[in-house]
Each structure stands twice: as structure tokens, then as C-alpha cells.
Amino acid sequence: MGRSSRILETMKFIAPLAFLVVVWAIVVPVFQVNPQIFPSVPAVFRAGLDSILNGTLIVHVGASMGRVILGTVLAVLVAVPLGILMGISKGVSDFLTPLLRFFSVLAGIAWIPLATLWFGYGFGAIIFVIFNGVFFIVVYNTLLGVSTIPLSLRNAAASLGAGPWALFTEVLLPGALPNIVTGIRTGLGFAWRGLIAAEMIATNVGLGYMLFVARDFYQTEVIVFGMIVIGVLWLLIDRLVLAPLERATVERWGLVR
């Protein structure tokens, strides 16, 4: 795709959203909406500018992103090797599948009460919740990915002289990669929500906290600004990191699932 057509695509994407903002900018003053119910565009703009200038936004975003990245990286590092080891044997993976599905259902939010009790309010509990949200789904998807690798590929590698380690790095890991990426994408989606929920309940910094505190003071302009930040951040993570990764593996290799 050329540079100019990419700009055009972006413009096309932004146009409907810009239109929405225009409608919002007209509706609020015309109907004289109570700012405690819904803020005006300039008020949100000012709230955003304030939080950028006095540095609070950076602190909250930094805290949230730091937690997500740490929790996700930890979870993926543990989950992928574990998932591959479990997936090698069909017997083992069949046996563990119900267990993993059970725990991936519970993943994330449902752990908040227990996590806060075990680790107290704060960093540990939130990392635990994110770890949980990503871990089980990635293990499950990795296992699924390994089981979709045709047996003939493993046989081919073995008959060409691959040992266990080469089998892992050359066949099982790349073969499961599309599913792993899908798993991370799904898990991160859950973890991101879990993060916001956990921050509302269990901390004193982060985007979820920023929104929840603003609620106490009926600062709708801060809430709406925070929601926009959350939406933009997730879009950026999903579109710029996760989706291209998924496309690069699935499309290039012609792996259709």
C-alpha cells in the first residue's frame, strides 16, 4: 500500500468519528445539557489539556500500560512453553482441555476479590489479575495450535534429523504461532477490561482509577476524556501491534484456520 493511500484510509476511518464529534459539539449547547450529565466538547478538551499539562495523564497511562505489559509478558513467557509441552501429546492435551477451559472462563475479573485478599490492594493484585486473564487463554490456544500442526510435519522434521529442541523451535513454536497470537489478542482483550475494573476497585493510580475518582466529583468531562484515551490506546494496541502480527503469520504462511 502506498503512502498516500494509507493516509486516505486513515482519513476515511477518522471522518465518521469527526462527524460524531461535530454532532456532540452542536447538541450539547443547543439542548443545554447539564455538564454533570454529559460534558461539552471544550470542557473535555480542557480536561484533557489540563491532565496532559500537569502530568497526571502520563502517570495514569504509564501505570496502566506498565501493568498490562508486565502482566502480559510474564504470562506469555510461562504460557507458551507450557502450552507446547502439553500439546505434544494428544492424550495429555485432551486430558487438560476441560481444565484449561474452566480456568480461562474464570480468567481475569473473577479473580479480583481473591487477588485483592491475597495480595492486598495494589500492584500485586492487578498484575495477578492480568496474568490470569492472559495466561490460561494463551496456554489453551497454544495447545490448540500445536494440535493443529499436521503430524506429517513433525514426522518430516524427525526424519530429517531434528532432535527435541529443534522440533520445538523449528516446528512446534512456528506452527502454533498463529494460534498463540490469536490467544494473546483475546487474552489481552480480557486483561485490558480486567485492568480497568481492577483499577476502579483496587488501586490509587491508573486509567480505571482516574475515571472512578472523577465519578465521585461528577467530573463527567474527565470521565469522557478518560474513556476516549482508553479507546484510542486499545485501538492502537490492537491495530498497530496485534492485528499486523496476526496477519504476518497467518497470511504469509497461508495457514488458514
Binding site: 472462563v105 476479590p113 485483592t116
Partner: protein, 268 residues
């Protein structure tokens, strides 16, 4: 080795007759391990309850009628949310999938609002509607709607051009094509969307019940957290897991299979 063969034969025949055994078996070692850690581990019972504590707690809450009531509340909310979410999501998905203009106008908006995520709406919803049912209903519908839209669009797109042409050449007017070709063709994807949507909605409901709730399983767990009752929290988690497992594996997955496999449409 050979001594194990009769055992294997027994297990194969037992699971063939009662497939549920295959689902339950992996939990046996987990529960045993849990019991072992609770009995001999370093954690005090208040911090790490044993399986028997949880069972006793379950009996007590069943006897008092709290658990059935809360469970009923949660399931009713989820069902209502799913119904409304589908009622909004499917028509919107059909529109976006069929019309290029609707796609250009609505797709970015859908993507953006999906990205904000259900839970981030909670603070402003609480301001608008207070702590209560409306807030929770909004959150669940919001969560269910997006996966339904995405998958409906995907489903509409996956209907083969030849099928449209066949229907047209057989004399079907546009609205009949919608009901006879597009919707059935997209159905497997729509079901998948509902399944994903409920998966997200379920989690959102728990979060909403924790933060704004006055009843429901999420509320029960968070209330237990305030009272410091780990047993009740663990019970809540188990109930959540089992319930979702039942809904997903025994209701949604069979519907998905029934449409997708029956018609030979692969929807993975």
C-alpha cells in the same frame, strides 16, 4: 505395560458411554492437590479454604436460598442482555455487511466504541443511572453487541456470490434474498458472535455486579471479600466457572455445531 491395557479398555468404554467423565476426570487431581495444600500447606484456613469448607458453604448458602436467588439474578441479566444485544447487533451487522455506505459511515464508530470497552462506561453510567439494574443492563448489552456485529458482518461477507446470483435468477426479490440466503448463510457466524459476546458479557456482568451490584454472583463474591470470607469467594468462582461451562459447552457450542457442521460451513 500390558497390565495397563485392561485399564485403558475400561476407561475407553466408560468414557464412550458417559462422555462427561472425560470432562470431570482432570478436576480430580486438581481437587486432591487443593485439599492437600489446604491440609498440609503453610496457609491458614481463613486465607486458603479446603474443598470441604467450600462444599459446606455451598450447602449453607443453598439452604438459606441466597445462592439460588443470586444465581437467578445473574443468569436473568445475562439472558436479557444477550437478547437485547442480538436484537441490536444482528440488524446492524446485516446493514454494515450489505451496504458499502453503511460500512464506511459506521465501521470506524463501531470499532472505536468497541475499543472503549464495557467497563470503562461504568463511572459515567453510575452518574446517569445510579447503582442499579439499568447500569448493569447497559454494560451487558454493550458487551454482547460488538462481537455479534463483527461476526454478522463476517457472516454476510462469507455468503458466496453464486448463492446471491442463484437466488436472483430463481426469481427471489431482495427482501426474500435477505431472509432466505443472507441470514441463514450468516447464521453460523452470528452464533459464534453470540458465543464470544456472551463470553465477554459474562465477565462484564461479574465486574459490574462487583462495582455497582446489590445482588448477583459478582456481588456475592465482592461482599464476601469485604467480610474477608475466602471460602465464599472461591465458591463464587466455582459456581461462575461451572455455570459458564454449562452454558457454553451444552447450549452454545451444540447450536454452533448444529448450524456450522450440518451445513458443512466451516466457521472457525
Amino acid at each position: 505395560m500390558n497390565a495397563l491395557l485392561p485399564l485403558w479398555a475400561f476407561w475407553a468404554r466408560a468414557t464412550k458411554q458417559f462422555p462427561v467423565l472425560q470432562t470431570l476426570a482432570p478436576f480430580v487431581p486438581v481437587v486432591l492437590l487443593w485439599q492437600a495444600v489446604a491440609s498440609w500447606g503453610p496457609f491458614p484456613p481463613a486465607f486458603f479454604p479446603s474443598p470441604m469448607d467450600v462444599v459446606r458453604n455451598f450447602q449453607m448458602l443453598m439452604y438459606k436460598g441466597i445462592l439460588p436467588e443470586y444465581l437467578g439474578d445473574s443468569v436473568a441479566r445475562l439472558a436479557a442482555g444477550a437478547a437485547v444485544g442480538m436484537a441490536i447487533g444482528i440488524p446492524l451487522g446485516l446493514l454494515i455487511g450489505l451496504s458499502k455506505r453503511a460500512y464506511a459511515a459506521l465501521w470506524p464508530i463501531v470499532l472505536f466504541f468497541q475499543a472503549i470497552g464495557d467497563i470503562a462506561w461504568l463511572p459515567i453510567l453510575i452518574i446517569w443511572f445510579g447503582f442499579g439494574l439499568t447500569t448493569m443492563a447497559f454494560v451487558i448489552v454493550y458487551t454482547v453487541v460488538f462481537p455479534v456485529i463483527f461476526n454478522t458482518v463476517l457472516g454476510v461477507r462469507s455468503v458466496k456470490t453464486d448463492l446471491y446470483r442463484a437466488a436472483q435468477s430463481l426469481g427471489a426479490p431482495p427482501w426474500r434474498i435477505l431472509f432466505e440466503v443472507v441470514i441463514p448463510g450468516a447464521l453460523p457466524n452470528i452464533i459464534t458472535g453470540l458465543r464470544n459476546g456472551l463470553g465477554y458479557g459474562w465477565r462484564a456482568l461479574i465486574a459490574a455486579e462487583m462495582i455497582v451490584g446489590t445482588s448477583g454472583i459478582g456481588f456475592m463474591m465482592f461482599d464476601a471479600r469485604r467480610a474477608g470470607s475466602v471460602t465464599e469467594i472461591v465458591l463464587g468462582m466455582i459456581v461462575l466457572g461451572i455455570l459458564w461451562y454449562i452454558v457454553d459447552a451444552w447450549v452454545l457450542a451444540p447450536i454452533e455445531r448444529a448450524t456450522g457442521r450440518r451445513w458443512g460451513l466451516v466457521t472457525q
